[in-house]
Point group: C2
Amino acid sequence: MAVKHTILGLLNYKDMHGYRIKEHIEKNFGHMWSINHGQIYQSLKKMQGEGLVTMVELAPSDNGGPHKKLYSITDEGKGEFARWLASDPEGQMLLRDPFLTRFVFFGFGDRARALEIIQGQIEIYEEQLARRRDNVTRRKRQGNYVGLVADLGLTFNEMYLEWLKRAYTEINESDDAAWEATGTAALID
Amino acid sequence: MAVKHTILGLLNYKDMHGYRIKEHIEKNFGHMWSINHGQIYQSLKKMQGEGLVTMVELAPSDNGGPHKKLYSITDEGKGEFARWLASDPEGQMLLRDPFLTRFVFFGFGDRARALEIIQGQIEIYEEQLARRRDNVTRRKRQGNYVGLVADLGLTFNEMYLEWLKRAYTEINESDDAAWEATGTAALID
DNA sequence: GATGACTATGTACTATAAACATAGTTGCCG
DNA sequence: CGGCAACTATGTTTATAGTACATAGTCATC
């Protein structure tokens, strides 16, 4: 239930409506996971039922924009957030990547096509790295928790790019037969 | 639909039953994500309905063990697998970690408790690193796709541990007030 | 022959993610 | 000033993934 506690954490900072919560999640935790707005609106509704948050509806006339629902954290919500924050992290790190899922099976397919796909990934992560470098520089290493996570995202990005390039070279330089023979055999002991 | 195609990929190699599929997924892709057997049995049933796999039931007497359902990939399944393998990876990398989710909010909580939690993570990843080093050494860098992914897991593990230790030191050495003041302020621009 | 670890499968429930759907606001370009 | 595109804002539905619960046979060993 990461979504729920993340929302509580943000409301702990200040009152927000759903759309704003989504923006902040993308800005602060968007290093590797994106949140779907559908989840946020559903969670907020549920959390309201649980007494963790309260809601005030703002008519369009009140603020000039489209209608909003402003959510605030309750004392019960603050308690739940504090309890969660101090508890031991449950569950392990999870990395899922549609590209890596394919990668392990590349031995079954065409090597040239595999190289094409890898090249595509290199381009994606080079762009992402440039964007992240900008962001981290703008934050100027504030020495806080959010800054440290941003650094982690950057370091990961750099490492991953290096790995992609090394994989490309190794696959490209080796001869076809060797890779396709060991590619399948190595999958299962 | 990663589970479905992963199963097809394994059946593409040889016929298997659910339990064996789970073992292989954990061995080959378990670097960062674990699969639940419930998903596998449900997926297999569904894929059978879609004509991607066929199933033969083996009575306990046939093999001495508990009853098994042996699944085989069909030509249609092979076609679907090949199409997927050559297609562009859809969606982005996703990293989810209950610890990191807490980490960004540590500015709202107690610094000593935060350090305790970080120390716990360091221990977890040190053990994992030792285990992975064993595994990779045993594979002796076969130079294939699976081996490359195993290397990635190892490199990531090393990098992450370094980051955890750096975070611990930075948080530990800085004074309380500075961290708690900037901790919340930095969350939102 | 009891017990505990392992192999094997299944169902029910909950959480997460993607897709579909709607509508007002703002700014700009012709 | 009319239209159109981008952005803000919320909502529902469906598919997929993940957790928890549940069962049962095998194998080794004490």
